[in-house]
Amino acid sequence: MPSRAQCEAVLRQLWPFLDGMISETQREAILVHFEQCADCESHFDFAKAFLEAIAESKPYLDVDDGLSEKVMAALASEGFGGKSA
């Protein structure tokens, strides 16, 4: 059973691990820790599910039609879509 200090050291690397911002050696050490500590792994899984949910929220954050229309009008004045500049 890993010590609390070992778990804390792993948990301090949660975001860097999920963002792929740690070395291969660090990554492997964390994966070995997971084999002995399901609780730490569950924290990483929860955070990973969070990041996936954030990425999937993109359609709810897109710009409204108003800006899209303005950009299209500006491009049309530049000749986009067959209109002369």
Partner: protein
């Protein structure tokens, strides 16, 4: 042989089709880049329009198959830099490892409140969008650019003219605030597991 008017029209049509298929789908992403740069809705509209106009005028310099999103973001940043003097914005770098630890604590809180499976059970898209919009601008912008639009830390640091460490610090802080907001949302919306007894409300906790 001189190109005929029909050849010229054909080239323009092909150019417009390529621009529409490759550049225009990034409109929302570039709007978020612009919002992060300007911090103002009206300035954002102007910057987005100018970005796409410049992109269209210089479409012949875009290399087919390369990363159009990054190309547009670069145009947006250069345009912004021309329009305004760069501001040196300094933000204290938080302890990034502590923010990672906080993520584990948030999971424990979700577990204790019976909503730790909320990402599997619920469509949180609208709640996430609302929570992101409620963040302070410099946290909101970074989480949008990295976690929603997929820019790298380095790209965001370059765009916002801040150190990479500041991007990371803001991102982790934003994620913690979002996680906490979503746990509260799931509990308040009554999504706790049926076997779970609801905890005191936040006002009850404050009064306890």
């Amino acid at each position: 042989m001189m190109p005929s008017p029909n050849d010229d029209q054909q080239q323009r049509t092909e150019r417009d089709q390529a621009f529409a298929a490759t550049a225009l789908p990034h409109l929302s992403t570039i709007a978020r880049v612009a919002m992060a740069l300007t911090g103002d809705a009206a300035d954002t509209e102007d910057l987005v329009q100018e970005t796409f106009l410049r992109a269209y005028r210089h479409w012949h310099t875009f290399q087919a198959g390369s990363d159009c999103k990054s190309w547009l973001a670069t145009i947006c940043r250069h345009t912004f830099a021309e329009q305004r003097r760069r501001q040196n914005r300094s933000v204290a770098v938080d302890d990034q490892e502590l923010e990672s630890l906080a993520a584990a604590r948030t999971h424990n809180a979700a577990r204790s409140k019976g909503v730790d499976d909320m990402y599997a059970r619920l469509d949180l898209g609208p709640a996430i969008a609302n929570a992101i919009r409620a963040l302070e601008p410099h946290y909101r912008d970074v989480v949008l650019l990295v976690d929603v639009d997929g820019f790298s830390y380095e790209e965001v640091a370059t765009s916002l003219d801040v150190p990479v460490g500041t991007v990371r610090s803001r991102l982790y802080r934003a994620r913690r605030q979002l996680q906490e907001a979503l746990v509260d949302f799931a509990v308040d919306a009554g999504y706790a597991s049926p076997s779970y007894t609801l905890p005191p409300t936040s006002s009850e906790r404050r009064n306890a």
